[in-house]
Assembly symmetry: C2
Homo-oligomer: 659 residues x 2
């Protein structure tokens, strides 16, 4: 392991293809944009709305829009911009995400030329604020079953948008409580007495003075656990008249006489195709969660490198927190996972950019694979964020509970990520469904789980599809000698093979159990699925672990710097072996390794912690978060405190040597 | 398993010996005392201070004080009162805990008759608010190394209390920023040029108008993650003159001429004896964490019993969240652990009451065992609270993120419990040290870890001490037939034996590794300890698991109601098997069971979930939390929403059947 790492090389690798976007944010976002601790909800909302208007034009939140409307036709840049904003202030990131990702993104993806020409320029410039009104109180996960209706009347040539009961109100809607002037509203389209499933309309909700328009009732979701600067609200529609051309009609059209047409026959398939175009939201949330995790880890690692507690007889000063094995056991595996997920996210953004950035038709299979990857990584990144930020807050002791040290807001603001833009458990199910059916029809729909016929007919033959750096991975795996027990646990090929084997075996077992269930429980379709739900979720988790490891391995290939490679190889070992260690019960149950080898892995992990300890600071410095952005008093005060103590020690105070 | 449980019997068992205290709280604390969502910090502080004065006199926060000063000489009642307040408002509980537990408790335990006569009555009545000023910015865990000094001057017959540098300021001190008039201040006692270790003084910090007294600088810790109603602050002393008789001198006295005397020779031992008298704080925090966990589980379980999502072909309505296996996998093991910890806490409170409630001298060994149990259960309960409340918030989806549904404040307010009243990792180390040394000298001190001699000399012979219901446990264990593999995994004796075996084997291994380290690394005393730190922490965790299971088994013995027993036996199975399942890697590594048996356990756990599903609501209703106290809009609104939909269905709306 090299003593010295060239930080610039490490940062270059991590910054990846959109380094310019990252640096523009680092250069332009100064302390003005940082969170203010202890604000009231109203103060936070006012400040965030104001800052949204002050975001320098060269930054990238609106990059995904076509150049002709003021964007940069660069979807990747918009995701990276989200990540960077998330390190500055998560309310700002979410508010921007609602405006340019969800609201603007829906107009762009679901609307047609006339909607674009009429509105996109104002949306991009922030002249018009908007909402993405999909979720209802009664339906958040199963959005295909939304209860709001939008019924076409050929006589008036308008739609009637209506909330039939309280559970059908739009809920948790960002930008609704205060700033939104328009909303993309999702509702069941009914015309000529026929239901055609969920579609979206562009609906004005407030007038220029900010008053709700007739028939629109606007409520406030009230105080939340975090994201105080985002004005989440509730919308109820009382027979609101919506002009015919406000239907965002890219995927379904209603003629003047009420005739419905669509190039996609099946309602369900059409709806999930529409949803699929909005995949960017999930990718942004996953990226933002990872970005916040990096901030928390940077704070905890830097604090652990200056905070001392408990003396030992063999040292003059008390011991640094980061020198304790227990502290390393907390910080380093979380840091290794953060690296792994970083590379997985980079790969995902590249894939998104390729699939959605091109002009040609989107390949169905690739699109669904992309949606699956986005769903799975979003779940992995947001759960990792919740766990890791909590750990970081605890690793900073009482200081971690004070707002001035940033961790409370990182924790509270990211917490919602595990359930918004898709509940994580539901997303894992989606991933599993894709694996089981080979991303066939109606990928996004979950209702098929209940149909026994689905299980028997659709469950695919077992083929694992490799993703990143296919050839490198295959070479590494095929180089593993036959007898596993003789291979070092740090052999990358063995690690890859072990991850792949676990996924394959779990998937195989799930297929078998579903088929058995279908054969024996024909009259209890819910039970067929429910009895194996835990198994199915484990399949998804194992799949995400595997693609994450592959992305890490591929990512290391992207640098030629030998010292950076050497360091990241150890970090990758730690990631791989931490995952294996956490799942050792499974590997032992399935005879994948002997008890002796299992115990040895714990020893190797502890050895890696020792080896990586001197590089802890380098690893967080690699994230290149500007000092100002960390915004934590414990980091600002520490140099001063150390100076003061050094001065006292020089003045002969016997206590001063131990802070 | 019985169909019908008599809820009264279940509640009677859970309420335990202090049922009267619990019911008094349930009867007297109405909506006035509930948290107000969305308050500013100032509003919360003002309200909590006011409410503290309005707590009905018949409740029990000051019960631990002697009857002659207005208390009830009932330490157990004060812990139960903490638990109950924690279900009403955690800021109120913590503020009360600072006043009557920490501050008043320190005056009672460390002071002598003259302090009691002069102050206890005013402390009990709440006429004088006070602080417990121990923690400093630089020393929170290693409080033996506090830097504040208090130096006696025989000429003036006063002490000089001084903060030598910024890191020595008192930090995170409850009641300091706003309300505290006095403080128990911990500092290094120096007299006649000799240091005698940490002692405590009763020091006025504000005058009657609330202004800081001369030499006292008071700061505000500022906004926090939670507990907005508690005014945490910072205290700095600039050569403050403290009269000689304000030394709380039960354990160490300073004569007028400055001569120091104490019945405990050794400074370190004396300090940890003093700390030991304050064990009640940890027991209260653990109890409060469990109480908040019960509130969160009650909300999530009741919501999961009304919330539906996703339809299936074999049911008219969508599926209840609680009917999904994945949801049961989240809620039920957490609920079973909550039951287990409840019984462990009950047993701990009884032991505390017995040890500290008697008039005779306290047995050293029992006192240390009590401290160890308090430390371990506090860690277990607070981590369980953090994990479980997070899970409950996610189980309620977006609704769980809204303040109106209570979960955000439960989460934010309890979060600090993992690091206050002792950082959990440090507490686990303390537990392990007690196990390794048989609770010998200086139990509370952690500095001995570094001395190689400690390891070689003090590590005890392996004897596990059983606690609760010794005879029942022994009977169950001895009834297990020889061949483990043939015993059902639901055999209670086998479960107990399995837990005990794990603890014993881990402890044995830690002893061996420490001795080996001492022999081979004589010159690196820190490494001897640090190399096995993860192992040592696992020993502590396994110990806590074992005493928790034993307490659960013993607790079931306390009811004669067959239906309640039958239900709790299944819950106890679920607790035991969940712990075993979570640690199956260890059991397989150590050949404790075969892969087949390990897999079978997962099947049995899933079977228990199915069996317990119909009793989910009963299990949370057993906690007997008044409906008002839950204070969650999702529970209040749901009956109304269901009524409205039923009305619509009756009116022929085809959508109304699915909410």
């Amino acid at each position: 392991m090299p003593d010295q790492i060239d930080l610039a090389r490490l940062r270059e690798l991590l910054d990846g293809p959109w380094a310019k976007v990252r640096n523009a944010h680092r250069d332009h976002l100064d302390e003005r944009f940082l969170p203010v601790y202890g604000e009231t909800g109203d103060q936070a909302r006012e400040r965030i709305t104001r800052l949204l208007g002050e975001l320098p034009a060269e930054l990238g939140m609106a990059s995904a829009f076509p150049t002709e409307y003021g964007g940069k036709s660069d979807v990747g840049a918009s995701i990276i911009a989200s990540e960077m904003l998330a390190q500055v202030d998560l309310s700002l990131m979410v508010k921007a995400g609602v405006q340019w990702g969800l609201f603007g993104g829906a107009v762009a993806a679901l609307g047609t030329r006339r909607h674009h020409d009429a509105h996109l320029r104002d949306i991009v410039s922030g002249k018009i604020f908007g909402c993405f009104a999909m979720t209802e109180t009664g339906h958040g996960s199963d959005v295909q079953q939304l209860r709001t209706t939008c019924t076409y009347d050929p006589r008036t040539r308008t739609f009637d948008l209506h909330t039939p009961h309280e559970a059908a109100r739009k809920d948790y809607i960002g930008n609704a409580a205060r700033d939104g002037r328009m909303a993309v509203v999702f509702a069941q389209l009914i015309t000529n007495g026929q239901w055609h499933g969920v579609h979206a309309w562009l609906v004005p909700i407030r007038d220029a003075q900010g008053n709700p328009l007739p028939g629109v009732r606007i409520g406030d979701a009230g105080p939340k656990a975090g994201l105080l600067g985002v004005d989440n609200g509730r919308l109820t529609f009382d027979h609101v008249q919506v002009p015919r051309d406000m239907l965002l009609d890219r995927y379904g059209q209603v003629a003047q006489d009420g005739t419905y047409s669509s190039q996609i026959e099946n309602d369900s398939r059409r709806f999930f195709t529409m949803l699929g175009t909005l995949v960017r939201g999930r990718v942004s949330v996953g990226g933002a969660a990872s970005a916040a995790t990096k901030s928390a880890l940077t704070i905890a690692v830097r604090y652990g490198d200056i905070r001392r507690q408990f003396g030992t007889p063999d040292a003059e000063r008390e011991v640094l927190l980061n020198d304790y094995l227990a502290h390393q056991r907390k910080l380093l595996p979380a840091l290794a996972t953060t690296y792994a997920l970083h590379f997985a996210q980079t790969e995902l953004v590249a894939a998104l950019s390729e699939v959605q950035g091109g002009d040609g038709p989107v390949d169905d299979h690739r699109q669904r694979e992309l949606e699956s990857r986005a769903a799975g990584l979003k779940a992995a990144q947001t759960w990792h964020a919740t766990r890791t930020i909590q750990m970081c807050r605890e690793a900073c002791g009482g200081a971690g509970y004070l707002a001035e040290n940033r961790l409370p807001s990182l924790k509270a603001d990211t917490d919602v990520f595990t359930t918004f833009e898709g509940d994580n458990t539901v997303l894992l199910q989606l991933v599993a469904k894709g694996l089981l059916t080979g991303y066939r029809d109606e990928f996004g729909s979950l209702d098929g789980w209940g149909r026994a016929s689905f299980v028997a007919e659709q469950v695919r033959e077992m083929v694992l599809e490799r993703t990143a750096a296919r050839s490198v991975i295959e070479r590494l795996i095929s180089a593993v000698p036959g007898r596993d027990e003789e291979v070092a646990v740090t052999d990358r090929g063995w690690q890859l093979k072990t991850f792949e084997d676990r996924e394959r075996h779990l998937l195989d077992g799930a297929v078998r159990r579903l088929r058995n269930g279908a054969a024996t429980k024909k009259d209890q379709p819910f039970d067929i699925f429910n009895d194996v739900q835990d198994h199915v979720l484990t399949v998804a988790a194992a799949h995400i672990d595997r693609v994450t490891l592959e992305a890490f391995v591929a990512g290391i290939e992207d640098t030629a710097d030998p010292a950076v490679r050497a360091l990241l190889c150890r970090v990758c070992d730690l990631y791989a072996l931490s995952v294996i260690e956490a799942n050792k019960g499974w590997f032992l149950e399935h005879g994948r390794f002997t008890p002796a080898r299992s115990k040895a892995i714990t020893g190797v992990v502890n050895g890696l912690l020792k080896e990586l300890r001197p590089h802890l600071r380098t690893l967080v410095d690699g994230f290149a978060i500007p000092d100002t952005w960390l915004h934590a008093a414990i980091l600002r005060e520490e140099p001063r405190r150390q100076e003061a103590m050094a001065a006292q020690a020089a003045a002969g105070d016997p206590q001063a040597a131990l802070p």
